[in-house]
């Protein structure tokens, strides 16, 4: 691994912030109250925007400042605000998502982090000193988001898991490659924004059709339950 003392102060900052992002992923994973989860997601977005800013300062790439602003406005302000508003409209502010086996959940998360470090091991150091760690951390954030989507039964929590996966991807792009080409980043940001809007639409559809936002109740479609069906031409 890298000798940390040889890094500049800014690079060390990037490191610390990346570690905090990983921590915020674990907080998201274990947070059972919806509003608090949304806030932790916003914090994660802010951390990633900060990292982007620092990477931009280290490498003096101007277009990363745009990415940082974009992340800040999308992931920290707009999307959490939208989710918050929808949760309020659906009267779910006080709802608590029951987490079964929290200890197992955390252990699973830790295993995923170890796996990510193992998967990133063969990546040789190229010219970016902290690359391997950052790739490992971002892969962990992606996998933790996926893990959250698997274990949580609540639609809003699943969406947060999905969005935090996107955060992990963005972190990978920023920290290991100094940002993708601008056109790609704009495209990805646009897709994320549209996805967030569509998620909002779906909250209403799902709560209309099954009168709850618990994905366990989305079980109408399977191979064996198709006899008595309305026609859908």
């Amino acid at each position: 691994m890298t000798d940390l003392s040889q890094l500049t102060l800014l690079q060390q900052m990037i490191f610390v912030l990346a570690a905090l992002v990983l921590l915020s992923s674990f907080i998201l994973l274990s947070q059972s109250r919806l509003t608090a989860s949304i806030h932790s997601f916003a914090v994660q977005g802010a951390l990633i925007a900060l990292i982007t800013g620092f990477v931009a300062a280290v490498n003096e790439t101007w277009h990363l400042y745009i990415s940082a602003l974009l992340t800040l406005s999308l992931k920290t302000l707009l999307i959490p605000w939208m989710l918050h508003r929808q949760v309020r409209q659906l009267n779910m502010e006080r709802q608590i998502d029951n987490i079964l086996h929290p200890a197992l959940l955390m252990l699973g998360g830790i295993v995923l982090v170890i796996f990510s470090y193992w998967a990133a091991l063969p990546i040789e150091r190229l010219d970016v000193a902290e690359t391997r760690n950052i790739v490992a951390i971002s892969l962990s954030v992606v996998l933790l988001g996926l893990w959250m989507m698997i274990v949580r039964r609540q639609v809003v929590a699943q969406v947060l898991g999905f969005m935090s996966m996107e955060n992990g991807l963005f972190l990978a792009a920023i920290a290991s490659t100094r940002g993708m080409p601008l056109v790609v980043e704009l495209g990805v940001a646009f897709d994320v924004l549209v996805a967030a809007v569509l998620f909002g639409v779906f909250f209403f559809h799902i709560s209309e059709s099954i009168e709850s936002l618990d994905v366990d109740r989305l079980n109408l479609l399977s191979e064996n339950k198709q006899e008595t069906r309305e026609p859908t031409p």
Partner: protein, 490 residues
């Protein structure tokens, strides 16, 4: 270049225009007109490429591999919009959708076409990702267009599974960019495919193979590879019929196209390493698994649209397997199979739409006696299924035969699995088809207005491709084979 702009621009404009047109009748015609314009421009572009060869520049790349898919996409888009105009009007009259939702449908139909065509023609691997994700976003509200609890559930599954899958593909793309950005002088070109293809030998093989695993899982979700296929039968069976036709016929192809583009880079990067065929092996494994699982699943289906979506998984698995084998014969076969499968499968979905309309249900056990009630639909379904299960003289027989020959050449012991799978799939389709087409006619079953023109056209084309592949098309496919596998077949 101008033609390309016409194709993409008309689709992009269509999103806006169709969202604004309030009369559903007019919107159907405008949709048809735009699709026709795209087809005409694509045909002209194809003629141009035929005469002067492909080109790349301005972040677009047109070569033999994608031009035939562009023509295919616009063609199926055109015939589907011919079918969808009266069909959706009827759905509107039955008050299944409001006219506002029909506006959304037409607008997003063009949105879907736009993202497909952008994904096919772009030279930038990042934009390719954005476009494929855009295709999910455009179609997710179409799957839930009827707003039944089932369709909302199907759309949610589709959204989440494809979203996650495609996110993993983005991670793979980031890894590719991570190893390539040092190789090119202008870092903005680090994702430009045509530039990267010249630098494959210098790429880091470890990173590229790690990236390919993510890309395979990511784009593989969209291709419908087992075990990431769970969204596919739900989304195909709950969406409106025209959406099932384009999803099955076009979207799966485009995801596979993306995978093959990446495989070409990874193959180059791994040439000197210990496992030069790693990407091919992975694709063969996933392809064969999907093929076998889907062939077996065909037997236990009760919903007609679900059955045909499993058949799509089966064929996509076969194509992935063939691309995985590599070599000129298998690649040629896979390219041909992409073409004939799209044509046949979209024809089948259109016919199934009419059939379930006649019976008033999608449950296989209640669809009976189609050939007596409405011969055109019955025969359409019968011939379509005969074509899809690989009967000669249809084109799918040709491509499957080529896949089998290629397997016999390079992996003889896998031929048995393939043959067995084809027979099982054939049996699975025909045990359900026979009573649907011939069985006793239920009382009160009457004909519905059905436009079988798109189906006839598609099946005739598939028949033609089975009897004789026109010289220009085989030339194209050969050129694409040369591009992908490094050697031509003809």
């Amino acid at each position: 270049m101008i033609l390309l702009l016409v194709i993409l621009g008309s689709a992009l404009l269509g999103i806006v225009i169709l969202a604004l047109i309030k009369q559903p009748g007019v919107a159907g015609w405008v949709n048809l007109l735009l699709s026709g314009l795209q087809l005409a421009a694509a045909a002209a572009l194809a003629y141009d490429v035929l005469q002067h060869g492909g080109f790349h520049g301005y972040s677009f790349n047109i070569d033999a591999f994608n031009i035939y898919l562009v023509v295919l996409t616009t063609f199926v888009g055109m015939t589907t919009s011919i079918f969808s105009r009266p069909y959706m009007m009827q759905v509107l009259q039955e008050r299944r959708v409001t006219s506002r939702r029909l506006r959304l449908y037409h607008s997003m139909f063009q949105g879907f076409q736009f993202t497909m065509l952008l994904a096919l023609t772009t030279d930038n691997l990042g934009v390719l990702w954005v476009a494929v994700e855009g295709a999910t976003l455009a179609t997710v509200l179409l799957v839930s267009l009827y707003r039944t609890p089932e369709s909302v559930e199907a759309a949610w599954k589709y959204f989440i599974l494809c979203g996650v899958g495609i996110a993993l593909a983005l991670f793979g793309t980031v890894l590719v960019y991570f190893t390539t950005q040092h190789l090119v002088s202008n870092p903005d070109e680090g994702l430009t495919w045509s530039v990267l293809l010249q630098h494959t030998a210098e790429m880091n093989p470890t990173v590229m193979s790690l990236a390919f695993v993510f890309l395979l899982v990511g784009y593989g979700t969209k291709v419908g590879l087992v075990p990431m296929h769970f969204w596919l039968p739900d989304a195909h069976s709950e969406g409106p019929t025209p959406v099932s036709a384009v999803l099955s016929g076009l979207l799966l192809n485009v995801a596979l196209y993306a995978l093959v583009r990446f495989k070409m880079l990874v193959d180059g990067a791994l040439e000197e390493s210990l496992h030069p065929d790693l990407a091919g092996w992975l694709m063969m494994g996933f392809g064969l698994l999907s093929f076998s699982v889907a062939a077996l699943s065909l037997h236990r289906q009760r919903d007609i649209k679900r059955m045909f979506s499993y058949s799509s998984i089966e064929h996509m698995g076969l194509m992935t397997f063939a691309f995985g084998i590599g070599g000129s014969l298998a690649t040629f076969a896979a390219l041909l199979h992409m073409l004939v499968h799209s044509l046949t499968k979209s024809a089948i979905f259109v016919t199934v739409g009419h059939a379930s309309h006649i019976a008033g249900t999608q449950a296989i056990e209640h669809i009976r006696g189609l050939i007596r009630t409405q011969p055109s639909v019955g025969w359409g379904l019968l011939l379509g299924v005969a074509a899809i299960s690989g009967f000669p003289p249809f084109g799918i027989f040709t491509s499957e035969f080529l896949v089998l020959s290629a397997t016999m050449d390079s992996w003889p012991w896998l031929t048995g699995i393939l043959l067995g799978g084809l027979v099982i799939a054939f049996a699975g389709l025909f045990r359900h088809l026979h009573p649907m087409v011939y069985g006793a006619v239920p009382e009160h079953q009457s004909t519905v207005p059905a436009n079988m023109m798109p189906v006839t056209l598609h099946l005739l084309l598939v028949l033609w491709l089975g009897l004789a592949i026109p010289a220009f098309l085989s030339g194209w496919l050969n050129e694409a084979t040369l591009l992908i596998s490094g050697e031509g077949l003809l």
